[in-house]
Subunit: 112 residues, 2 copies
DNA sequence: TCGATATTTCGATAATAGTCGAAATATCGA
DNA sequence: TCGATATTTCGACTATTATCGAAATATCGA
């Protein structure tokens, strides 16, 4: 799963991790790039680079709304990542494998 | 939490992710460096670099056993990472925050 | 269509990370 | 103590990633 390396690499940066956490906390309504840039206080071109990185890894989804591009966290990507990390954990000793968030019907589902 | 960036960065590499997953699957008994090197087919010096990276990030723990150094996965580090990623998720809409593995009393606990 | 707003792409530069052979360190058994 | 085994540290090189200003693209309202 080279996708897992890409997702982890996308999160392994101060600014990108901050962006992702903001979007996780915001929920399915998402935030425009401008709001995020203001929150982080970095140049637009730098933010754009990081948003593209997160999107390429499937961790965020971009949708246009007028002149703004709205970014939303993809919770399922995190679930998949954790499932992959913990796959066949611990020589068969039972572990919780519950999804962290978002995959239960009726709760804030986001396209995978 | 710069520790989260460090942990994510430690996992964001083909070889280190493979090492970590092997140790997750091995459980608390752990594996010596030599076994891991053989499984991955990379030079000792390269593996040593990656193991040190994982250890620095708190994802694996090293203990000596004779001439061998045994490495063990630290499940709690992953739990902490996921908790941090999903903190205050989704504008208060309820989410599962169960630990993935290893923090329940009686099940394969590893020092944090 | 034009000017303003929102965001991305480009290009150059600076910084960090990965690779691997060779030498160093630690432990063991004889 | 000595030779063998297990692993790490060092050093030099290459490759990848981050940064940010300036120019390009997309959308809107008038």
């Amino acid at each position: 799963m080279p996708a897992a390396v890409e997702a982890l690499g996308a999160l392994a940066h101060k600014h990108r991790l901050a962006v992702f956490r903001i979007l996780v906390q915001t929920g399915k309504s998402g935030k425009p790039a401008s709001d995020i840039a203001q929150a982080l206080d970095i140049p637009n071109s730098s933010l754009s680079f990081h948003l593209a990185h997160l999107a390429r890894a499937g961790l965020v989804v971009q949708t246009r709304q007028g002149r703004s591009l709205i970014y939303t966290a993809n919770y399922n990507a995190v679930n998949a990542l954790v499932a992959y990390l913990m796959e066949n954990c611990c020589e068969g000793i039972p572990c919780s494998t519950d999804a962290i968030c978002a995959t239960k019907p009726g709760l804030h589902e986001v396209a995978a």
